[in-house]
């Protein structure tokens, strides 16, 4: 086991710098995970806007509409002067102005659909659309009652009651029961969301220089002259790489156990752990490919940053996949981190998809395909290295 022992000794020499990586990035990951834990929605409060109203109709219908809006927003009665209206909007005294024109009630009774009211809005404010939608819904309901033979008074009264009931009885219903998680489980999901970058960085930065050393032309030639067989040497190198990768992975499992308790080993936690296990062969394969080109320490760091940081940004490690553009996601699908994050989202319930074991194993399968492909590339790169060294 000489090769293995030398591998471990060499790995041990880079231990301080790797630990620095671990401490800095794990602290960041924990911090981010902590921040995410507080964002779970468990209550509802509707948005309350300041709405300016100009009632030119002074009818029962306009009064009912005002009453309805007043129940949800702060209503401010305004003079019908264009300059005043624009000033109030400009200084943000109001965020939305509703102008109820003369004949509003008549138009409503006659079943007119368009131009029932006018609005003045601040451009680009989404809450304006929200008020538009509330007014339209209300008026549609009134018209529905009217068409059903109700008197205007009854139609207005029923509509107001219906909407006030709805607004006061909002309940948050999550259709995916699996997404109701404890704080520590939410922390676990967030923690495992961030580890691809750190774990890949640690493995790439630690393993690549070791493999580069063993494959350095003169040393490789010298070792080839020995009576230890090629198979034995390669097996020992493989064992060293696996041990190194598992050691790094173990550090993360241990950290998550320390910070999130036994829940790490709950069903969801174990699914996250198993998913993160895919990062090991993936990083080892990448390391094998990089080291085949015998890069310098600086080049190794540069390649590591491009790969791990680039993949992390594109695939949703730092920014949730739901907030990434379609084009970015289309590219990300060709990268293994995408499927890791997709699976993590699936387990945590933050995915559009409902959690099923089939979907989970499919994502694991895709990651395994990537791993297989990367090992095949590593094999080709290794052959190229040998050919270069013999030339």
């Amino acid at each position: 086991m000489q090769v293995f022992k030398a591998f471990i000794k060499t790995a041990f020499k880079s231990f301080p710098s790797i630990m620095l990586y671990f401490i800095i990035f794990t602290s960041l990951a924990l911090l981010m995970a902590y921040a995410y834990t507080d964002t779970t929605s468990s209550s509802f409060k509707s948005v309350e806007l300041q709405i300016g109203i100009v009632d030119k109709d002074h009818s029962a219908a306009s009064a009912a509409l005002s009453e309805y809006l007043d129940s949800m927003h702060e209503l401010i009665s305004l003079e019908n002067q264009k300059e005043v209206l624009l000033d109030r909007l400009f200084y943000r005294d109001v965020e939305y102005i509703l102008v109820i024109p003369e004949g509003f009630e008549d138009n409503l009774l006659s079943g007119k659909d368009t131009n029932l009211f006018e609005t003045v809005q601040i451009p680009g404010i989404y809450s304006s659309a929200f008020v538009d939608q509330q007014i339209n819904s209300y008026l549609k309901t009134v018209k529905l009652y009217l068409s059903g033979g109700y008197s205007l008074e009854d139609a207005l009264s029923h509509s107001t009651d219906t909407f006030l009931d709805t607004a006061n009885n909002v309940q948050i219903v999550n259709f995916n029961e699996d997404t109701q998680h404890s704080a520590s489980l939410v922390g676990i999901f967030s923690f495992y969301q961030f580890i691809p970058y750190v774990l890949a960085s640690m493995i790439l930065c630690g393993l690549t220089p070791i493999l580069t050393t063993f494959w350095q032309k003169d040393l490789a030639k010298r070792i080839s002259c020995s009576s230890t067989s090629l198979i034995s040497r390669n097996l020992q190198l493989a064992l060293g790489s696996v041990t190194y990768a598992f050691f790094n992975w173990g550090l993360f499992i241990l950290t998550s156990r320390i910070f999130y308790g036994a829940e790490v080993f709950s069903e969801k936690g174990l699914l996250c752990i198993l998913n993160s296990l895919m990062l090991l062969p993936l990083s080892v394969a990448l390391s094998l490919i990089i080291s085949s080109f015998s890069p310098s320490w600086n080049a190794t760091n540069m390649i590591n940053n491009i790969l791990s940081l680039g993949m992390s940004f594109i695939c949703g490690v730092f920014i949730p996949q739901s907030q990434l553009g379609e084009n970015v996601l289309a590219v990300a699908k060709f990268l293994p981190f995408y499927w890791y994050i997709k699976n993590n989202d699936l387990i945590s319930g933050s995915s559009d998809e409902l959690f099923t074991y089939t979907a989970y194993w499919q994502n694991i399968g895709v990651q395994l395909l990537f791993i297989g492909a990367l090992f095949a590339i590593a094999l080709v790169a290794s052959k190229m290295r040998l050919a270069r060294q013999e030339a």
């Binding site: 002259c225 009576s227 013999e390």
Partner: protein, 313 residues
Amino acid sequence: MSTPVIKIENLVKRYSDLVAIDHFNLEIKDGEIFGLLGPNGSGKTTTINCILSLLSFDKGTIEVFGKKMHPDSYDLKRQIGIVMQNVAVFDTLTVYENIDYFCGLYIKDKNLRKQYVEEAIAFVELDQFRKFYPKKLSGGLLRRLNIACGIAHKPKLIILDEPTVAVDPQSRNKILEGIVELNRQGATIIYTSHYMEEVEQICTRIAIMDSGKNIACGTADELKQMIKKSEKITIEISSISDEHMKNLLSLPHVYDVDYSNGQLNVSCSGGRHNLIHVLEYLQQQDLSFGRVYSELPTLNDVFLEVTGKELRD
């Protein structure tokens, strides 16, 4: 007749259009210190790489201890120690750890390995540096570490590929003494170098290589006897006429006379007392002269005569 340690027949190695080894033949006997002498690029290292199966070759056969050498001939490799031209050690391991590592590639028994490593450290006199990392060692000490890594497992055949390149004279002498000692302890040595003095100093037999060919082989004396020149006389003299030079050329055993930069060079082939004859002539002609040197032929002269170029070209 005992089996040769190494037998190479008709070895040919090509790199595309370049013929690196050209129908090379060689036989090395047990107990020899065999020198492979040749300028840089003459094919010495390529030959060594072929012997060790580090390189495939296009034609010919190589036998080591009577068996054909293959990349997986691990029983043969067990008996070979190699000291590469470029120092091949781990920067991340100490002197002791490096020697232990390379020794461990051959010796599985822990206790025996420990003993061998200690002996190797003592042999190359690196005891006080055992905990040093290679980057802290001077060039000479690094070369000695390289040698220790190659010989720690006590091989029967030791191949040293230019082990004294870029080494100070003190370390060079230690290395050469060490090689002779290893041979005394029973190891057959193959020593490649482009330093003819070293090869002449320690090797019992020498093969001179050029352009991948074995152009001459034998002991240093045998090689020198192969050439015409047996003595070169150099005399500092302010001027000499063509007539005197003609007269000198007619002296017995003198075959070349040449004058340049105030030095008269007289080349003799065979014969004895050539120097006395030349000096007698100069005195008789009342020609005053300064310092006088007489040199026996070197391997460089052999190389020069056989190839038409200097060994150090």
